[in-house]
Each structure stands twice: as structure tokens, then as C-alpha cells.
């Protein structure tokens, strides 16, 4: 195995590990953000459920449950991609299915980020600090996912090359 191949494997493993951890951290932040927004009243659960405020508590709780279910799915996606990156960085023989999901998520961000710009400049008609922060956050998430996909591919190719060299 040439030193350059070994170096590439090390680099790809390191990038995957850090990107995986970062993506999981971003997932946790997504959930925290929702919880903070509900707690401070920025998000109205009734508004999400299309309900009037005088509806019964059970409906209110259902609305909350829906909101958190969606959040849990988002968190699960982040953790699946993140944990799989970590696992793949330790053992490149494990499944690479997470890369397919990562590509789908990239597509999601590619659509979502322009939409955020659209909402800022067209719907709101003003530059909103929160939206700018969201855009930056989403752009970073996109970068992390691209790094996961790229490092995953480099690691796969380097490992195959290393097997061919030995």
C-alpha cells in the first residue's frame, strides 16, 4: 500500500468522522430550536395544526405531538447519516446506504435554500435576521453533507486501490 493511498484513507476517515459528528450536532440543534421557539411563543402549535386556541387540550396536545414527531424524524435522519459516517470511517466494509440518503438530503437543501431566499425577498419584503441565520445554517448543513458524500467516495476508492496494491 503506497504512502499516498494510506494518507488519502486517513484524510477521508478523518473528514467523515468530523462531518458525521457535525451533522448529528446540527440535528440536535434543529430540535432544540423548535423547542425554544415553542417555549418562547415564536411558534404557535395551534397555528401549525390549523386550530383555534379555544379548542380542547387533547387537540392541543395532538398538535404538539405532530410537531415533535416531525422533529424526531428530522433528528433520526441526522443521526442515521451521522452515525453511519462514523461507523463507515472506522470500518469501510460496512454499508454505504447512508450516502444515498445523504444525496437525497442534498437535493432537499438545494431546493430549500433558494426558497428561503424567496420568502425573505418576495413574501416578507424585508431582510429578516432569523431567516439569514437559517440560510447560513442550511448552507453549512449542505456543505457537511457534500463533505460526507465526497469523503465516503474517496474512502471507498482508496480502500479498493489499497486492496489492489497489496
Amino acid at each position: 500500500m503506497s504512502e499516498i493511498t494510506v494518507a488519502n484513507i486517513r484524510r477521508a476517515k478523518g473528514d467523515l468522522r468530523i462531518s458525521g459528528l457535525a451533522y448529528m450536532a446540527f440535528g440536535i440543534w434543529e430540535i432544540l430550536k423548535v423547542a425554544i421557539e415553542i417555549g418562547t411563543g415564536i411558534i404557535d402549535p395551534f397555528g401549525y395544526a390549523g386550530l383555534e386556541q379555544y379548542d380542547v387540550k387533547v387537540v392541543f396536545l395532538s398538535a404538539l405531538f405532530s410537531l415533535f414527531s416531525i422533529s424526531a424524524i428530522i433528528l433520526a435522519l441526522h443521526f442515521y447519516v451521522g452515525f453511519s459516517s462514523l461507523r463507515y470511517s472506522k470500518d469501510p466494509t460496512t454499508s454505504k446506504r447512508f450516502l444515498n440518503l445523504a444525496m437525497l438530503l442534498v437535493l432537499y437543501y438545494v431546493v430549500e435554500i433558494p426558497y428561503l431566499f424567496y420568502t425573505m425577498f418576495t413574501l416578507d419584503q424585508r431582510v429578516n435576521d432569523t431567516t439569514i441565520a437559517s440560510i447560513m445554517f442550511e448552507l453549512t448543513s449542505l456543505f457537511i453533507l457534500i463533505n460526507v458524500i465526497s469523503s465516503g467516495r474517496i474512502l471507498k476508492k482508496s480502500v479498493e486501490k489499497a486492496s489492489g496494491e497489496t
Partner: protein, 376 residues
């Protein structure tokens, strides 16, 4: 390197180069003194603090981390312990800030080593000792830089000791680190102390070989590790081989400084002189121990038939303190100070000349001193 090599091994090298016992004692004392001549000590002696050749941990902890503080640190460590190899090294796609640090990486046999030995020529034994300290450290401290820099001096935790069995088979054993400066390194458990990881680029924790602990200073160890600057490629350090080369090169350099040879050329070694003692020296270098002082001392005393005094930091202090102002430069420490200033100014001037600002600016007065000595 530590006292076993800077003091006792330097004595042995000086004696083998042809110096007398007393001359060898002066040389080896000066070589070891480089590791102890701090601003605190110089302040106590009433000596110029600019001549400091090292810094205590407390001094480092207290030092400024702005550009002036960093330049002060770099001047000391790059001049005496991590002599830069190539101040004009080129790398593609690297910014100026990175290159300033990369160019301070220490390796043996660079142009600055030649200048270090040449400016010691025709001067005092103390200056010879300083030059020998710098020379020896270029071998031990290879691949680290004498400036606080995460991107150069950081390493991963992947250190492996390379062990060769009696039958010639090679195995590796993982080296573990802990951050307990109060605890001695445990050679049996392969447990060593290193500095804590600090993500700040200019943190003191990223000065020199702190991240590798004392591994570069142990003559017996061969190890593999990943430095930050080498693009994920690992480095293998063979300390026994490097220390042997350092010893042979010191003898060669001191033969030149004694006047036995006409010039000093890098990458040249007094192998003929070392040959009769090579096995004995190899035994000392490869013996698995934290401190080889006793073995080097015994070897030195066998060579010269004289007793080598243990190093005493206070030995020459009273002489310097009691001397008149005009007579101080003729004392032992006075001569050491002259040598230290010349070395520091030479290295700083060379770093500045290369366009690197990390060592600061050489004062005009100091440049004149170098010009007068024909050393600019």
C-alpha cells in the same frame, strides 16, 4: 535532548575531538547551560535578559501571546532548540502565514547549522558549547518548529513504538499519552506525558515538540506518528540512529572548531573517530531508560581517566555577580552570554532576511555587531 546528551555525551564528543578534560568540561557545561539560562536566572545575575536561551514553564505560562510575545518566544526557541532547516522552502497553495511557520521546521544539516558552527569558530569554549547544543537538538527535534503553531507542531494521538526483537522481527506497540506533567513517563506501560490539545493556533501548548511529549529526547525509542504538517503521511523517527549521527557530527564540528580541519561541511561525520566506540555508544543509546546520565558519565570517565563533575547551575554565578562591570565579559557566564547573543542575532537576522516576521526585527545596533564580526 536532555542532560544525558547535552552534558555528558557532549563531554565525550569534545574529548574525542581532541579537547582536554578541562576544555571539555567548559564545553559540556555551556551546552547544558543552554537549557537553563532563563530570563529569571539572568535577572538574578544582573545579566542582559536578551541573552536568555530558554524559557521556564512558568515564564511561558506568563508570556504575552500578542505578536511581540510570540516573536520573543520564537527568537529563543528557533535560535537554540529548533534551528530552522530551510527558510526559503516552497509549497504550493499555501498562504503566507502558513509558510512563515512551515519554514521554521527544524531538521539537521541545514544552512543555518553551518553558520552556527562558523560563528563559533575562533571564539570561546562557551560558544562552542552553545553550538553543540544547537547541533544536537537539530537531530532530536527534527520535524518540529520553535514557534507556537497548531498547524505545524500538532500531532494526532496515533503514536506507535517500533520494537525490534532479538530475532530481527519488527512489531509495533501503541504509545498512550496522559496530561500529567507531575508524573514520570512509564516506559513499561508505554505511558507518556504530553501537552494538552489546544485548538488555538498560537497557544503555548503548540510550541516545539510538546504534543509528542519527551519522546524526541529519549535516545532509545523508535516511533511512528502523524504530524499536522505532513498531509496525513506518517513520520518514522529512529532516535538511536539520529543520536549516533548527532554524536559523530559533534566530534567532526569540534575538530573543525579546534582548528584540526579547514572547514565545516554539513552532512559530514567523524565516523572514523566513533568507530572504536560505536558498539559501546549504541548500547547506551538503545538502553531503555529515561535518563542515560550514568552510562554516558561512566563512558566519559573511561575515555579521559578523569572525574566528570555533576552539573551545578550555581558553579559560575558568583564569579559573574562579583566581577566588575568591565570584567564581566571575561567571566564564564560573560563569555556564554556573548556566544548566546551572537547565535540569537544570527538566526533572527537570517529569519528576518527571508521575509519572515515571526522572529521580529533585529535591532540596528545588533546588526552592527554582526557586521563588525563579519557575520552578516
Amino acid at each position: 535532548m536532555q542532560e544525558d546528551f547535552h552534558y555528558y555525551a557532549t563531554y565525550c564528543a569534545a574529548y574525542l575531538a581532541g579537547y582536554t578534560h578541562d576544555e571539555s568540561m567548559d564545553i559540556c557545561y555551556s551546552a547544558q547551560f543552554v537549557d537553563l539560562c532563563t530570563k529569571t536566572l539572568l535577572s538574578k545575575l544582573g545579566a542582559p535578559q536578551d541573552a536568555a536561551t530558554t524559557q521556564l514553564q512558568l515564564e511561558l505560562a506568563d508570556s504575552r501571546t500578542d505578536i511581540l510575545g510570540l516573536q520573543d518566544i520564537t527568537r529563543i526557541w528557533a535560535s537554540f532548540h529548533f534551528l530552522p532547516y530551510d527558510l526559503y522552502a516552497q509549497l504550493s497553495r499555501k498562504g503566507r502565514g502558513y509558510m512563515n511557520r512551515y519554514r521554521l521546521i527544524c531538521k539537521p544539516n541545514g544552512p543555518l547549522l553551518e553558520r552556527t558552527v562558523n560563528i563559533a569558530n575562533g571564539t570561546s569554549l562557551q560558544h562552542v558549547g552553545i553550538a553543540m547544543h544547537v547541533l544536537a537538538d537539530t537531530w532530536a527535534h527534527t520535524f518540529f518548529a520553535g514557534t507556537p503553531s497548531l498547524v505545524i507542531n500538532n500531532t494526532t494521538d496515533d503514536f506507535s513504538e517500533i520494537l525490534t526483537a532479538e530475532d530481527g522481527s519488527v512489531t509495533t506497540r501503541r504509545i498512550r499519552f496522559r496530561h500529567n506533567p507531575g508524573a514520570a513517563d512509564d516506559l513499561e506501560q508505554n505511558l507518556y506525558t504530553n501537552t494538552v490539545y489546544q485548538s488555538s493556533e498560537k497557544s503555548i501548548m503548540n510550541l516545539g515538540h510538546g504534543r509528542a511529549g519527551h519522546l524526541p529526547d529519549y535516545s532509545f525509542i523508535r516511533y511512528e506518528y502523524l504530524p499536522a504538517w505532513n498531509n496525513y503521511e506518517s513520520i518514522v523517527k529512529d532516535n538511536p540512529a539520529d543520536y549516533m549521527k548527532a554524536f559523530a557530527q559533534m566530534i567532526y564540528a569540534m575538530k573543525f572548531l579546534r582548528g584540526e580541519l579547514d572547514e565545516f561541511k554539513p552532512d559530514t561525520y567523524a565516523d572514523d573517530t566513533v568507530a572504536p566506540y560505536k558498539e559501546r555508544i549504541n548500547e547506551i543509546l538503545t538502553k531503555r531508560q529515561i535518563n542515560a546520565c550514568e552510562d554516558w558519565k561512566k563512558f566519559g570517565e573511561e575515555l579521559s581517566g578523569q572525574t566528570i563533575e555533576d552539573f551545578d547551575l550555581n558553579k559560575f554565578q558568583e564569579e559573574y555577580i562579583k566581577a566588575d562591570k568591565s570584567a564581566k565579559k571575561d567571566t564564564f557566564i560573560g563569555k556564554f552570554i556573548e556566544g548566546a547573543l551572537a547565535q540569537k542575532h544570527m538566526v533572527t537576522a537570517e529569519i528576518v532576511k527571508s521575509g519572515n516576521v515571526l522572529a521580529g526585527i533585529v535591532k540596528f545596533k545588533q546588526l552592527d555587531i554582526l557586521k563588525e564580526a563579519g557575520l552578516d
